[in-house]
Each structure stands twice: as C-alpha cells, then as structure tokens.
C-alpha cells in the first residue's frame, strides 16, 4: 500500500519526474499464463523485445536475458513472434 501525498508535497503543475515515479506491477493483470524461454533455442533476433507492448523483455546489451514478469500482462505476442519457438506460455505461479 503506497501513501497518498498531501497537496504541499506535490511538484508544481502535477509534473512527474520519471525517476520519482513508482512503476505499477501490471504483471498482476495476467490471467493464468506467463512467457518462459528456452535459451538454448533463442537466436537473439530481438523481435520479442520490439513487439512487447509492456517493455517486458530484458536485455543485456543486445542479448536476451529474460522477462520482466512484474510488468508482463501475458498477451502472448512474444510467443507468436518468436521465429524459432523459443518462447512458450506456461501456467502462472502467481
């Protein structure tokens, strides 16, 4: 539960600085499936990174490292777009 600020604590004009902004965990939106990867198949084509609506593909440089399940909404586009079938949707543990 986050605290609600008083009017005296807010920046002028409702301005938000990204560094100060909490990132909502929209991973809670998933309805039962989440993506997982078989790294041995991944060819680092980066298409999943490009197509993900939630910026949930984590890279190290230009290398795929994993998913940010805190924000992934389970739309399955990464599974659809992966050209080598390295990504599959699995039952969510949440």
């Amino acid at each position: 539960m986050s605290e609600l600020k008083s009017w005296t604590e807010l920046p002028v004009g409702g301005t938000v600085s990204p560094g100060d902004a909490e990132q909502p965990r929209t991973g809670s939106w998933r309805t039962g499936l989440r993506p997982e990867v078989d790294l041995s198949k991944c060819v680092n084509c980066l298409l999943c990174w490009l197509y993900c609506p939630d910026s949930a593909i984590r890279l190290d440089g230009t290398t795929f490292v994993g998913f940010d399940h805190d924000v992934c909404k389970g739309c399955e586009l990464c599974e659809v777009v992966c050209p080598v079938g390295a990504i599959g949707m699995v039952r969510d543990g949440n």
Partner: protein, 316 residues
C-alpha cells in the same frame, strides 16, 4: 549492425516508454511508439493528445515516459507541438537552450486527435511548416472513451456509436483519406506505415526526422478490444491490412508518391474482415452487398494509388 540492434542501442538502456503502464494487454500502440522514438537518433520531446496512450501512461503520480513529455488536451497536439518547436528555435537563436544540439519533436495522437477534433490544429501546423513529426496511431475509432466511431472508422465497421443491428450494417460512411489531406498541405514528408512492417516504419521515421519541415505519419494500429480479437492475432490482422491493400504502405516525398511495399498477390478483403469481431456482422449472407462495396472501394483506391506512384516515378 542490424536495424533492430540499432534500435536497442538507441535506447541506451532506458526505454522511452517503459512497462507498468495501463494500456490493454496486447495493445498495438506501444510498439509503434518505441519503434518511432528508437529510430530517431536525436533526443526526442513527445507531445501527446488525449487518448489511450496519454491516459494509460501518465496516471499521476506515476509515468511510463522517460523522455520529456507534455499533454494539454485532445484536439491540440499539433498546436502544442508548434509552440514547443517554436520555443526551441527562438531559444536556439539567442543561444539560450539548456543544452546545445538538435531535438526532434514528435506529436502522438490517435485517429480522434488527428482526423476529427485534431484536424484543425494539425492542418494549421502543417501549413505553417513547423519542423516536427506528427504520428497518428490510427486504430480507427475513439477507443479510450469506449470504441465510438471516428472519421477514420472504416465503412461497415461496428462501433458503439455505429453499431450493427437489424437496421444498420455499421458505419455508413467511408473513412477519410487523412494521408491525402496531409499531402495536400505541401509538406516535405508524408507516409503510411504499420508496426508489423517495422523496418519500413523505422526507415520512414528516419526520413520524417530528416525532413526540413513537417512530417506526417499515419500508422494503422490494432486494438484488441475495439477491433475484437485476441492479442495473439494482432500480427496476422495487421499483415492482412497490408496484404489486402486495405492499408497500403507508401510515402510521399516532396509531393512525389512512392509505394514502399507491394503485395505479391493481393488478398481478398474478407481476409482483413474475418478475424475482427467488429466486422463479424458483414460475413453474414445478408451483408454480402456491403462487402462487395468495400472490396470495390479498396480496389479503386489501390488502382489510383498505383497509377499515381507510376506517374510520379516516370516524372522523376
């Protein structure tokens, strides 16, 4: 380096639009936005119109934007952008910018904020020649307010204000050709693009950013809720838009038309209609006449576009 790797590098580890926003599962807009911002090699300032993108990414006190971003109202993205861009030039003239160097100004609006309520401000900004890129993420209805019809809604589509029923086959009017309206302003660069042809979109953005004046990009963007499809069907549907010539990919450079993609075999318009619940009513036998009409409209537009491109190529 591959273009995709370059887009990654351009982010410098900091996505312009990060996750945690409230856009729908499978929304087509974020990919368009990130492809665009990542394809621009200068710093970017984004001016957003009211709409899904704006509302869902900036619920106070959080934000999903890591680039300078401003929103004022629904109809004035182009006017606000005009002010920001002019301020940049005025301050640059007297060496008063906080940092030196170029900045690219990108206005982002849905079809409502472009075709309809946003049309006046856009027209004015194009006519005045401000150096900025106006991108319409066209999902063909007012999605944020509940899928109401807009001037971009295609003929025959069912929306909440043009619903299909026993007395209606959906929207009874043809959609505006907003791309042609932009071309009529004699601006240096206009294009139609789509996220699923991301390489084409990325190249077009580069050309838009390099244009010495206004650039207008119309990007057909899917909406799982408004169009009625599972998110995983997004790519198939966007591809169908291109392969049926519902959404030709072309650019107009200094008034000269050029196709940037030609389908090997033009597919029948049903391939575009079938996967979307907003067109489901058209697939019934009694709506056959409407589908025939739609096919004819698409055919005529495609023929006219090809002819114009050939003419312009020959004149070059």
């Amino acid at each position: 380096m591959s273009r995709l790797k370059q887009l990654v590098r351009n982010e410098r580890g900091c996505a312009p639009l990060r996750g945690g926003h409230a856009l729908c599962q499978g929304c087509g807009v974020p990919m368009v936005v990130r492809t665009i911002v990542d394809s621009i090699d200068t710093p970017v300032v984004v001016i957003s119109a009211t709409g899904c993108l704006e509302v869902a990414t900036t619920r106070f006190p959080t934000t999903a934007w890591n680039v300078p971003w401003v929103h004022v109202a629904f109809e004035n993205a182009a006017a606000v952008a005009s002010g920001v861009e002019t301020a940049y030039r005025a301050l640059a003239k007297r060496n008063a910018l906080p940092q030196d160097g170029p900045i690219t100004f990108v206005a982002l609006a849905g079809d409502g904020g472009t075709y309809d309520i946003g049309l006046q401000a856009l027209s004015g900004a194009l006519e005045r020649g401000h150096r900025f890129i106006f991108v319409c993420y066209d999902n063909e209805a007012y999605m944020n307010t509940g899928i109401q019809r807009s001037g971009a809604t295609p003929f025959g589509a069912s929306t909440t204000t043009s619903p299909s029923g026993t007395a209606s086959f959906g929207k009874a009017q043809r959609r505006k050709d907003m791309t042609a309206i932009a071309v009529a302003h004699h601006v240096p660069y206009v294009a139609q693009a789509i996220a699923v042809h991301w390489h084409d979109l990325s190249e077009k953005i580069e050309r838009a950013a390099a244009a010495d004046g206004p650039a207008f990009l119309n990007v057909l963007t899917n909406c799982p809720v408004g169009w009625g499809h599972e998110p995983r069907a997004s790519l198939e549907i966007l591809n169908a838009a291109v392969e049926t010539c519902f959404w030709p990919l072309y650019e107009v450079v200094e008034g000269r038309y050029r196709l940037t993609y030609v389908p090997e075999r033009v597919r029948p318009i049903e391939d575009w209609l079938r996967p979307q619940a907003r067109f489901a009513h058209l697939l019934r036998p009694e709506a056959r006449g409407v589908v025939v009409k739609i096919q004819r409209q698409i055919d005529e537009e495609w023929v006219a576009l090809r002819r114009r491109c050939e003419q312009d190529a020959a004149a070059a």
